[in-house]
Amino acid sequence: MPPAPPEQLVFRALADPTRRDILLKLRGHEMTIAEVADGFDMTRAAVKKHLTMLSDGGLIEVQARGRERINRLNPAALSPLRDWLSIFDEFWEDKLAALKTAVEKDTKT
């Protein structure tokens, strides 16, 4: 198995709603580019570009099968993002700091 790609590439791949839709579509299904493109209102070239970014982020694996390129979800690449505890932890740290500032400013005045 190749080493995990830098998180940046994962985040960048996930930042676009179309790419997230593609990932959802690939959940549980291997698909050719044409199959992925079916249902999206864009050119096959545009879909291919999205698939390349997903592949760069390690979120999908692309395998040549005859003349086709088969795209498959790689759930393992999502592991850096799975940690909702740390996301919420940071969220509350920031919010509580803002609360403390607001409360204490209000009390002094």
Partner: protein, 137 residues
Amino acid sequence: MTTHAIEKTLILAAPPADVWAFLTDPDKLEIWFHRPQTALTQPGPYSMPGEDGEPLVWGDVREATAHSRLSMSFTARPMGGLMTEVTWTLTAVEAGTRLHLLHDGIPAGAEAFGLLTAFDGGWDDHLVRLRKASVAD
């Protein structure tokens, strides 16, 4: 589904009544969190709209005991409909108020995939720090 809790405690140099206002009053919540459409002082549904006017954070106030305890269910747009539980406990201390936060029911593991893919614009930048990497997009 495996869930986890986050607990935070902080001391605020203000009496519990003041802190309570910041947890329940829309004008005060707006300063540090998001503005709810109604005060969070009664059991019942609450909603905090985002800039686009659609609900960003919502749930039900379960218990609102003035100046001491506020508990509510809590979800946010990127959470894909998953409800968690947030409980604030306020205790008067010499320095002011000890505020305790319990955020329970946070999923860990593969469930988060659904949450992630539910991301869209408009959520608080803390949770969307993930999107910052998208500059080169």
